[in-house]
Symmetry: C3
Subunit: 399 residues, 3 copies
């Protein structure tokens, strides 16, 4: 067997992840460290097998359902890629933004689209207090459907972004960090700055910063969150970060300037997001169909944003980081000064220098999603990976 | 071989369905009883094989084309599921509602989308006198295309709902009944009430009640149709039902109240539909692009509907049925009182009690569609099912 | 081995096309005659294998990305068919018409959708000077992404129609001609008339006439281009046609009436297109978001078109051709007099007589696209075709 792959399978053998079989992946902090490490290891294994032109199809047929409340090219393609490499065909269900289904409708629709579904990927990040709850409703409905003999199989869920967490993003980000720092064991004590940055747009989801502080604190890192006053994230997630840091031997701290956060940082993640309180207000306004109220709120928030144009990842800021060479990260697309906007999250020279690593960061997402699916659908992942390797069925056939 | 599967294959051996090979499935009353029974038996066989994790892919590549005049999540997912389990990839062609293609255009489009098509599923239920005709035009066009060497294969058609019949729905409904009553041989003399019910919406297709009376009369059942005055279905289909009943030793009768229909019924199917005469009017208005006329007609019909709010499947109504325990059926989604509307087709307590069987009823549809495709594309279904079973290729691979 | 297939594989053995491996297919005149002949031969081989029910799937998983600036049912289905027969699943990315992405955005999007992409098909024919350039930007971006370790594989490109050329159309047209005339060796000295024809619509792309004169001049044919004054095609492409004709021993000439062009023609291709100069103007207007300007231009051009209603392929025109029996060609859909419009490109009696060959012409396109993909993705096409034939894996399994 390929030495790299052998090493990955050996690592997998040292981890306890048996409870992932048949489980959903909704919040990273519901998973143990071993389970997170299993996702990284399977993601690397699947990628290695693709490099070796070994088919990783575990499904001969079956559907991967994507349920999006929002248009999303990147997430859609990542999910489709993950499903495709495992043998599932994607069927998209695009629900309108404004249509917040409840109770009977969720239960019924969830079953009606799942007759041949092995996995359901949901993105629902628009409304505070709704997205994650909706996912649990869907999960409950299809499990009940299976119990009642409606569905031959239990479709498990992958959270493709909700109001609270963005696990496929933060897990892909972490796998990128692991590779950049030469292994998960090298992360202890490394400082990561998750900071707000100015953007001329309004209403960017909180799930990215929340996902980052909720996950990175699991690895003994020094996680610093920075944002202007009024741009708080959900207090529950800060509490998660605090507890994680205490348990993992790292720290979680909050500062009030980008410069302070960047100081001696090994990794920086400057990114815009909307204030939690404003998102709560907007959720109520949407619920009431109050278009005028929504527009007034947006105007107000754009004005508030404009007070913080100095929150930009400039060359001067980067100089503050460890040796001036922190790893710059972003979930993409970024608002780049003089490229996609006048004032934005980052200057072009910084972005350009990190373009290749930024794209590489994004490239882990399909493999992370595939690993989440694999671990949820395969009872003995080690034996199954070995069997796939032994079969040597070429993904791309040629003589 | 699995005993259940063996029994199903034995049943198949006793039926004559050789003419289904290469044929379309457009109206249930164009098929013999043996052919209908073959569809049920193959549907059960495919479902059993899925339970046993045996791949039923008969296509290594090939397309299933879906042609919808109307948005339809459920039908789309059922068709996609059926295609997927047989190895066909779905390509959707969404034609606009208002675009009624004719002659040259139908012929050309049908061929242009069918170069790799093995099956075409069409839903066209909007216009009385058009949908089924359109399907026959498409079928004729692709058969001509094959004869002329344009298409390497003949794509066969499955009617996913037309103005006259809804065979995938009624056949799935019947398979549900067969399982609930322990076999097709137990249906003789059973009473089914197909009744109109009040809905606050307007213009629901006639294809469901027509499909039900056109099919259920084939099995020696006592089929009772009930609706308020003015909500007649197509007289041609009533005539079909009458003839069917005479031939099968059952009855077809019409009554003018829900209570009368429910009396001693074994099965009840209360569901709203639009009056046939109104649908004919609307077809003309659509053809003339007369938006004002359409709106006036809709208003008039909503007012007419509102006179019949007492046509609701209440607990009192259910008490009239055999032992108060008739099987409640619906094609879903239902208009449920105080859940999806104020006044609707059924009260919540009845719906809730039958939720699991209702979902199960719906779950037969993908298998019914797959069976229709299988019987149309496979010359020797018995030998092919045996070969698939013998191959034991896992649908979902794991070690 | 099947004798037909053996003959095709033998032909392939006599051609030099090694540089196609890993290459894009953007303009026919960037390819050698041997390379074009390889596409025809592989297209015929894949079609023959489909007739013989032999699977041609070379991909076990993988995505074919379609990137359309414009709605396109036919091209979408042709591309999907080609991908499907090789084992790739299609993912569509529909960019809006007005959204002309540049630089950073193109580079980023191209990579973000390509993590599992083996092929990218692009249709971008709206803006003169943009479409082909855009394709090269995408190609460059994904090659850079592969070099940087972002993409495991290099997705290669197929031009599904641009501002300059329409290679999948012209190549399918040529394969049709080859079959109609009994072999590519019989085309020397044959006259083809590529002529403008009247259409009541405005703004039809130039890529078809340009593609035809750019390709047909490679085969020693006498290619005649005819159009009213003011309907010039791109001068660069006329120059390509002139050079091609000189090199291949054919001719390229321009005349100013349909009758002159049809005189003694073996093949006629009467089709509407917009004047190049007007398309250039429109591109500027679109760039400025000048809706009023666009509408004024369209009105002006419709009026200009209306002066040339006599440019119609009538029975009288057809009588001028060789023995009155020239092969009539069109990329479809055609504007047919008294069928799809009052005055159009062709009278119904001519169109009807040629319907079967017209559909057959179109039927080559999926195989041409599949051949372009095959030759770009397979290093040794001859050995691979032989291996697929030897495996005899049925596309459509039955016992």
């Amino acid at each position: 067997m390929d030495a790299n792959l052998q090493k990955l399978i050996d690592t997998l053998g040292s981890l306890n992840f048996s409870e992932m079989y048949g489980s959903d992946f909704l919040l990273t902090w519901e998973k143990t460290r071993d389970e997170l490490d299993a996702v990284y290891t399977v993601a690397d294994s699947l990628r290695r097998m693709r490099e070796l032109n070994i088919s990783t199809k575990i499904f001969d047929s079956g559907l991967g359902i994507s349920l999006f409340r929002d248009n999303s090219t990147r997430t859609r393609f990542s999910f489709a890629s993950a499903c495709n490499m495992l043998g599932l065909e994607v069927q998209d269900l695009d629900e309108g933004k404004s249509q917040i289904a409840h109770g009977e409708t969720v239960r019924e629709t969830a079953n009606m689209i799942s007759f041949m579904a092995d996995i359901i990927g949901i993105r629902d990040d628009m409304y505070i207090g709704k997205g994650n709850t909706y996912m649990r409703e869907v999960s409950h409905a299809v499990r009940e459907g299976h119990k009642d003999g409606v569905l031959e199989q239990v479709p498990t869920l992958v959270n493709l972004q909700c109001d609270i967490d963005h696990p496929t993003q933060s897990m892909a980000d972490m796998l990128h960090i692991i590779h950049e720092f030469g292994g998960v064991e090298n992360l202890k004590g490394k400082k990561i700055a998750m900071t707000w940055a100015y953007s001329p747009s309004y209403g960017k989801p909180l799930s990215v910063p929340q996902g980052i502080i909720g996950l990175m604190t699991r690895f003994g890192m020094d996680v610093t969150l920075a944002h202007p006053e009024g741009y708080e994230v959900m207090p529950e997630v800060e509490e998660v970060a605090r507890k994680n840091a205490a348990a993992s031997g790292g720290t979680f701290s909050k500062v009030s300037s980008m410069a302070e956060a960047f100081q001696d940082a090994d990794i920086v993640y400057p990114k815009s997001w909307a204030p939690f309180a404003a998102m709560e207000k907007r959720t109520v306004l949407y619920g009431n169909g109050d278009d005028a109220g929504i527009q007034a709120l947006e105007k107000e928030l754009l004005a508030q944003n404009a007070n913080h144009k100095d929150w930009c990842c400039t060359e001067e800021m980067m100089k503050l980081t460890r040796d001036g060479k922190a790893l710059y990260m972003h979930c993409l697309p970024a608002d780049i000064n003089d490229v996609s906007c006048v004032d934005g999250e980052v200057v072009a020279s910084v972005f350009d220098r990190y373009r290749a690593p930024l794209y590489k960061e994004a490239s882990y997402k399909p493999y992370i999603i595939a690993a989440m699916i694999f671990l949820s659908k395969v009872k003995d992942p080690i034996a199954t990976l070995k069997a796939l390797e032994a079969a040597q069925h070429p993904r791309w056939f040629q003589k």
